[in-house]
């Protein structure tokens, strides 16, 4: 028992040396997660900060000016041009200089004063229909507030109902608050799974794996020696992102670190298990890398990171039962933002434990099968 432990420790030491000895490879393990975390923190957002628009105002009245002033004063809508002809609209949209073109008809003010509905026509650039929809949503909100003010100014009955909203766990509905905690699991999984898959494949390709086999190491010890260092590296990556989330993006951490790390530990078991699984199938580094990639891609895309799992078709939703990242994302976000405890998180802890055990024992079985 003791000698077995010593052997594993020696292997762990060797594994750390192999990865961390080369300054370039040290660099490549820690720089990308940091860089990605910063970039995605700023880039991955569905919120629009500015909407470039052009206007074709045929009315030139006080009402239309007041309406446009409302848009310009919002800080989001940026007027790029005042058009004079219908024919100009296409050019502004086609060349992406304006996301929206707003047309105000000649009888805008007359209709408003008469209490009739006054339509404004809006053309949106639908090349990215999601963005266009968001911009139209912002416009709708501004129009609502313009309407309310117009009504109260002109003695018409005010809006019948006010909707008061409260948002839990993320008071300003900031996309970043959801994105950055999600990156803890995503970036760690990408790094760890590939690193593990490659570490065995590299030994195989360079022939050192055969040398390892003639030593007194048992298959189980080799596996533990490969799994543990990669888990430690994974946890270090997670911690780095966690620190960036708190000290760079200032997203308040509400939960308990013990629960978070318990969850991450289980998640890394599954990630390393999958990596070993891939490496026992792959013959070369290229194969290990590409297979790992083909595995990570769908897991990352369908984890709920980019789009909610509940919007996916039923068969994909049931297929995602085996996706460890999906549970890790839910777990990190809920611990981070909601201060969720074990009682609320067992739907994540339970599958993570099962997946971790399954992948590791599956990999161990494949390993010993290929070794004998």
């Amino acid at each position: 028992m003791r000698s077995s432990l010593l052997r594993i420790l020696a292997l762990i030491r060797k594994e750390f040396l192999a990865v961390l000895k080369d300054p370039r490879s040290r660099f490549i393990i820690f720089l990308p997660p940091i860089l990605q975390c910063l970039l995605f923190g700023y880039a991955a957002s569905f919120d629009l900060n500015s909407v470039a628009y052009a206007v074709l105002d045929r009315d030139h009245s006080r009402a239309s000016a007041a309406f446009l002033a409302r848009l310009d004063g919002s800080g989001i809508f940026l007027r790029k041009a005042d058009l004079s002809r219908n024919g100009d609209i296409a050019a502004w949209i086609d060349s992406s200089r304006a996301l929206l073109v707003i047309q105000i008809d000649r009888d805008f003010e007359r209709r408003l004063l008469a209490g009739e509905p006054a339509p404004i026509q809006v053309v949106a650039d639908g090349r990215n229909s999601n963005t266009a929809g968001t911009a139209l949503g912002y416009l709708g909100t501004l129009v609502d507030s313009f309407n309310a003010d117009w009504r109260s100014l002109h003695g018409q009955p005010g809006p019948p109902i006010r909707i008061v909203t409260r948002s839990w766990y993320n008071p300003n509905l900031d996309s970043r608050w959801s994105m950055i905690p999600s990156l803890i699991g995503t970036l760690t999984m990408m790094g760890t799974l590939m690193l593990t898959a490659l570490s065995v494949a590299r030994e195989r390709e360079q022939g050192t794996f055969d040398q390892l086999l003639v030593t007194p190491f048992r298959p189980f010890e080799i596996m533990a020696g490969k799994a543990l260092p990669n888990m430690v590296i994974g946890l270090t990556q997670s911690t780095t992102i966690l620190l960036i989330a708190q000290f760079w993006f200032h997203i308040p951490f509400k939960g308990s670190f013990a629960i978070l790390y318990a969850g991450l530990g289980l998640f890394l078991l599954a990630a390393v298990g999958l990596g070993l699984f891939v490496s026992s199938i792959a013959k070369t580094m290229q194969q290990a890398m590409l297979y790992a990639f083909l595995l990570v891609m769908p897991f990352a895309l369908l984890s709920g990171l980019a789009t909610p799992i509940s919007s996916m078709p039923a068969f994909l939703q049931s297929a995602m039962v085996i996706n460890p990242l999906r549970y890790a994302l839910d777990l990190t976000k809920r611990v981070y933002l909601e201060d969720a405890g074990f009682a609320q998180l067992y739907p994540d802890f339970l599958p993570l434990t099962i997946l971790g055990l399954l992948t590791l024992s599956g990999a161990a079985w494949l390993f010993s099968k290929r070794l004998t």
């Binding site: 970039l39 700023y42 639908g126 963005t131 109902i161 890398m289």
Partner: protein, 373 residues
């Protein structure tokens, strides 16, 4: 003349070797064919930004005919699945346990205050998914407006200003329309940069390149014979995406077909250029693959305008995107597919990509020559 023939023969031999290597390695085929198919299916069927029914817990503290009608309006809406509960505490427990996406409270003085024109509705959303929360707040306007209209009589709810909107290029608001063009870019990035980087780095790592260098083979010929087969593999991915766009997702191609091909080929050359350059410089499969991933794939996914719109990014991130080829490629594809041949968009973007391709291939050529001496 004789020289030329020998040159061509050498290139042919090496291209043949490379092609056989691709065909015999299951992982190359997996990336060249399985990966595009997987991405097409994932993006086509798996990823949807359209939120399906949202579940909401409704607490009606007023219990009048007016408030019951409002609850009814929510129940009839296609966007909501309503669970009625009796107290706010119950609703909060449901939100916390993730049984519902949000809660709606109709306060006990709702009808009374509505008659004085000052009624309030409270909506509580779970902000851990801000996008969904925001969509929910938007959807809630629908039933409320409908209810107000039914109470106030005809024309009562329509505000003075009414927005009539039209979404150009994508009237049906189908997210496939902007995902498919971006997909082409993603597939080419993987094949061009990621796969090529690994393949060339392997030759350096194993020393088979040095073996090649003692033959009459020139550096340029070597690069060309690496370039050609992977260019072919990339074009297979392109054709697969093209077919899926047309026959599975029915995305219209409004620009001329030859321009789409020209744009794709130019981008593929940039991707190959990055792959070849990175692997020539670092000479290690692990480093080359990680670098290719960080420099090309992730930016193509996140910083190109494919998933997240460039207009949503802060100015300095937008500045960074100008250095990324994927940005130009996604703009090109989306415009060529959906808007058509817009000269002011198409030619400058193709120009930038062509310049990048030329610079990268030249740099690779120079770096390879240095190694030889």
């Amino acid at each position: 003349m004789k020289d030329m023939a020998a040159k061509l023969r050498r290139i042919r031999a090496l291209t043949l070797k490379e092609t056989r290597q691709i065909l015999r390695d299951p992982s190359s085929i997996a990336i060249g064919v399985v990966f595009p198919l997987m991405m097409i299916l994932l993006f086509g069927y798996g990823l949807s930004l359209d939120i399906s029914r949202l579940s909401v817990a409704v607490v009606d503290e007023d219990i009048s005919s007016d408030s019951t009608a409002l609850v009814g309006a929510f129940q009839l809406s296609h966007y909501f699945a309503v669970t009625q509960v009796h107290s706010m505490a119950e609703a909060v427990a449901l939100v916390r346990a993730r049984k519902v996406d949000g809660a709606l409270l109709i306060p006990s003085d709702f009808t009374r205050r509505w008659h004085v024109g000052d009624a309030q509705l409270q909506i509580l959303v779970n902000g851990t998914d801000p996008n969904q929360a925001r969509i929910m707040l938007g959807y809630a306007q629908g039933p409320v407006a409908e209810w107000s209209a039914s109470r106030a009589g005809p024309g009562g709810s329509a505000g003075p200003v009414v927005v009539v909107d039209r979404m150009w290029f994508n009237e049906g608001n189908d997210s496939h329309y902007f995902l498919v063009p971006g997909l082409i870019v993603l597939v080419m990035t993987i094949i061009g940069a990621f796969l090529t980087a690994m393949v060339v780095a392997r030759e350096w790592e194993r020393g088979t390149l040095e073996a090649l260098f003692v033959t009459p083979m020139r550096a340029g010929e070597f690069l060309f014979s690496k370039f050609l087969p992977y260019f072919g593999l990339g074009m297979i991915g392109f054709v697969l995406c093209l077919l899926a766009g047309k026959f599975l997702f029915h995305v219209p191609l409004r620009g001329p077909f030859f321009l789409l091909c020209l744009a794709s080929m130019t981008y593929l050359m940039v991707a190959l250029g990055i792959g070849l350059f990175v692997s020539t410089v670092v000479k290690s499969q692990f480093l080359a693959s990680q670098l290719a991933m960080t420099l090309t794939f992730l930016p193509a996914m996140m910083l190109s305008g494919f998933l997240y719109d460039l207009r949503s990014m802060p100015a300095f991130i937008r500045g960074i995107t100008y250095a990324l080829p994927a940005r130009y490629a996604v703009t090109l594809m989306q415009t060529l597919y959906l808007a058509g041949d817009v000269r002011s968009v198409v030619w400058p973007n193709i120009g930038v990509l062509a310049a990048m391709a030329a610079a990268l291939l030249l740099a690779t050529r120079l770096a390879t020559r240095k190694q030889l001496s």
